[in-house]
Amino acid sequence: MRVEGGLIDRARPLNFTFNGKGYTGYHGDTLASALLANGVRLVGRSFKYHRPRGIFSAGSEEPNALVQIGEGAWQEPNTKTTTVPLFDGLTASSQNHLGSLENDLMAFNDRLSRFLTAGFYYKTFMWPRSFWERFYEPLIRRAAGLGALSGADDPSRYERGHLHCDVLVVGGGPTGLSAAREAAALGARVILADEDSLFGGRLNSERENVEGQAGYQWARQTTSTLASAENVRLMPRTTVFGAYDHGVYGALEVLTDDPKIGTEMPRQIYWRINARRVILCSGATERSIAFANNDRPGIMLAGGARTYANRFAVLPGRRVAILGADNEAAQTAEDLKAAGAEIVATLTSAAESTVADTQGRRCLSAIKLADGRKVECDTLAVCGGWNPNIQLTSHHRSKPVWNDEIDGFVPGEDLPPGMIVAGAARGVFDSQDCLADGAAAAALSLSDIAQNAPVEAQRPRPSVKPVQIKTPAALAGSGRAWVDLQNDVTAKDLFQAQAEGFKSVEHMKRYTTLGMATDQGRTSNSLALRVLGQAYGVSPGDLGTTLARPPYNPVAIGAFAGPSRGQHCRPTRRTPSHAFAEGAVATFVETGAWLRAQWYAQDGETHWRQSVDREVNATRNGVGICDVTTLGKIEVTGADAAAFLDFVYANTMSTLKIGRTRYGLMLREDGFVMDDGTCARLADEHYVVTTTTANAVSVFRHLEFVRQCLRPHFDVHLISSTEQWAQFAVAGPRSRDLLQRLVNTDLSNEAFPFMACGPVDVLGVPGRLFRISFSGELAYEIAVPTRYGNALFAKLLELGADLDATPYGTEALGVMRIEKGHAAGNELNGTTTALNLGLGRMVSSKKDCIGSVLSKRPEMVREDGLRLVGFIPTDRERQLTAGAHFLEPGAQATMENDLGWMSSVAYSPTLGQSIGLGFLMAGTDRLGERLTAWDELRGTTQEVEVTSPHFVDPDGTRLKS
């Protein structure tokens, strides 16, 4: 029922629906307050027993009133009605029921409650074992749960960001506002974050004065002052949910819950806040009392009831009973009475009786007192005292300590570095004390980093005032008394866990699921310990407590991912000829971060093999062009460049003449092959080293390590030029003809022989030309500054139109290198040696190099070791499969009989059959033999013949032509 007053804006009515029925609220309402204002008291069903549940609190601690917001792909389950600001068009629906909310068919679970106690899953569904995953678990999950995901992609967008500050004030209640005000005055860069849309905390919920004015007005004025300060950043609706290493705090800012707006801008921002100091002013959460049937809609926390009356101008009920702490009860009675409620009972310590049970089918209708009386009421406001919100203090494993004076846990001493706790979060509950404590905490926190000296660091801080009369945790009664409302854990479950030996709080938590719901036990953990302590006559502190972990409130997975989803999960690199390839409708393949053209399909080609075969044939018979920019390129300069390269390459580079290129092999320290590539000498002290695409970064890192750590005295420098040069392979018997139309350098075999290199003028652009070949054909690689790359690619095709110049992609590149017998990633896999690859003679014995010593280990130089050889199927119609293992004909497929494996296969359009490369024990001695290729994964076996790995032009006539 709506009453006068409050902090809502009655000039801005808002329409919303709940379970399809339309209602009206006001700007400033939460969904919970608007529902209460419209008389909606039943909002959901409980997790396990499907009991009717209503709104229990007015904050993020809410365990009951969880609903689904939005529809279709927008729907978000398990949303707390108490934290969602009302917006126009909001649609909400209740969850976890079969049939209507009012007549939930699953409510029969409640009748079976005596069988569904703690641990019943583990005891009941033991046999047969295989039924657990297939039958029992799906059944249980359908019967008990929360809301449901849509199953569609989340259309909401999420952002991510980084903030820095001198001091992060967590919580914008009186303590936080005071701390922020003081810190700002000291010149610190301040971030003040609060999960609520309004700063002020309890000041917006209570009718008390602060510094001579109404609390909410003081909060508003202080907020306004802070907002105008340049060194303060106010972050409403921002929950600091985790304290991480090195002063980093995770925070979630909610910008909107409205899906209409969520398409225009991000809905939430996940901030990583780097804070030099943190003042934790997270306040306190009211706790409940365990008594029979304390879960009915209409039973709520007294502080929540006051919030609804004072802030939202909503009476939670007309006839209100109040139970619990004396001072809270009196304040609640006064506020609700002032708002128009009838106070039918105030059950404080002075009362003659207390609550023994409650009644009401879907909502509270009456309470039964211990003396037998029955009091008709529609609301019971309960206050069992206040628990400091200390969750963030435990995120670095600091253990809370029990404080008998406030009857609750307070932060331990081993707090996250730079954190100070102030106000109610450390047990200081009086508002005036909170203001003083916030200011003192700010001064103390900033004493060594504040800009405006002097800082009065040791300002006295208010002491924790003892609670005069402690409220019992549990009341006697015969019905079930709920401790954890969200996970349906009762006091009986706790005692049962204890009786069965789960005495440790950690064990009890897992056995009963206490505190393991999305509310993280905000209203249940402390209550459970107090219930047990009261029953066993021990202090809750002696029972211990579990440690809170991040996040403080649930965070959508989408918020963690932020913009990094779908194609934005990681960045992609585009080759210089990407635009041309796109225009040619190339099929792209990801190679690392690069997007490379895999093949260029032409009209009429319906299978990738048709395109690739055509590209290979065109290259071998005419000229093909491929973008090979992705290979790593490193400029090595300096007086010691030659000596440096001799040290990092297995073969010698210092003897390389200027204008010549040499194939190079790098070893790791352990003697295995690290990478291969070419090394071109452009000047006496200037080499260009190329690497494989996959190892471009790791080779550069390796070279820098050698330069800086192993050879720091060398005059040598490394510059990565991978990005600076666009490089294209121009391969095929007509490649010289084509390039000669582009450059005015004499490209004859005599003037520019195989492995020559040098600068060239490419239509007025300074370029580089290398006569090197990966395909085995007469071939060149031509390089121009990157931004000319796309134009050059097109120009090459234009100039070579009459030569049938053809672009080819990585697939044809791979086919041709297998035909030629060149090793690539499948062979250079980190487990092969130079000898394995047939390159043993490249490891020079005349000089030292990285990996030289360990490459000579006996196992690595065995004569009968693995050797790279070629394979063809004896049945030419069959296809070879990569990964197949070689066995002697008729041998069993065992490790002992394993002779090696097939590393790369391709269909060779040149030979008209499938070919493969692979490693075979003593392979070079077995050419011509027939073996069995056994592929366990594909379930195939076939006979293969061992051949030379050089299927095409084995004597190199073509590439030297």
């Binding site: 801005r12 967008r157 952002e159 991510r160 960001g161 980084h162 903030l163 820095h164 500050c165 860069r189 910008l255 909107t256 707006i261 225009e264 801008m265 991000p266 780097n274 913009p563 990094s564 934005h568 990681r570 960045p571 992609t572 690199r573 585009r574 080759t575 210089p576 635009a579 971060a593 690069w594 920019t629 400029e635 300069t637 300096g638 005059d715 420098h717 510059i719 990565s720 030029s721 991978t722 990005e723 600076q724 040069w725 139309r741 005015n744 490419v762 239509l763 007025g764 652009v765 121009v784 500054p785 990157t786 931004r787 000319y788 790359g789 796309n790 134009a791 050059l792 120009k795 100039l799």
Partner: protein, 182 residues
């Protein structure tokens, strides 16, 4: 030689990604960017900027990203100490230029640098990450940054920056609407 016409650059010299009163974002080629190894030099030479700092000399900017390399933007002859070792990197990088009063808000969404505080004041330069893309961030003036991004990664970064700028402007409008309604 059948055609002596010059090849065409595949990017115009400047591409405006966002142009509003509060935020201007443009993409440019990183013309005249040179990597200059400090070979055989005293690396703590006071005439050179310290690591992480920049200095201007006769219109050329010296960017010191690491101990043994100086990047020069502009004419290297203004930095004779390194001009003989300069490697052209103009095609290796593009630059995203961000200016306007909303620059800090955009930058704090893109990278982890302390763009409004003492951690990364004007005149500083740093290698950093924007999401997963490596960039060199140069804080030129208050609310003005230049981000060098490797050419191959440019489209990824531009897409991210453009979307982020769009979101920021939408958020700005959202707040404006909310305050005017209020």
């Amino acid at each position: 030689m059948t055609d002596l016409s010059h090849l065409q650059l595949d990017m115009s010299s400047a591409d405006l990604l966002c142009d509003t009163p509060g935020l201007r974002v443009s993409l440019e080629t990183a013309d005249c960017l040179w990597a200059c190894p400090l070979i055989g030099m005293e690396q703590s030479d006071p005439n050179l900027p310290a690591v992480g700092h920049t200095k201007e000399r006769n219109g050329s900017h010296m960017l010191r990203l690491q101990r043994d390399t100086l990047y020069v933007v502009g004419d290297t002859t203004n930095v004779p100490e390194v001009s003989s070792n300069a490697h052209d990197q103009s095609h290796a990088w593009n630059s995203v230029n961000i200016s306007g009063e909303m620059t800090p808000a955009l930058m704090e969404r893109l990278c982890m640098l302390d763009v409004t505080g003492p951690g990364f004041p004007p005149g500083r330069i740093s290698r950093t990450l924007m999401d997963h893309t490596g960039v060199i961030a140069w804080h030129i003036n208050n609310a003005e940054f230049k981000l060098f991004v490797a050419t191959s990664y440019t489209s990824s970064l531009v897409e991210r920056v453009r979307q982020c700028a769009k979101d920021l402007l939408a958020l700005h409008d959202f707040h404006e609407r909310a305050s005017s309604t209020h």
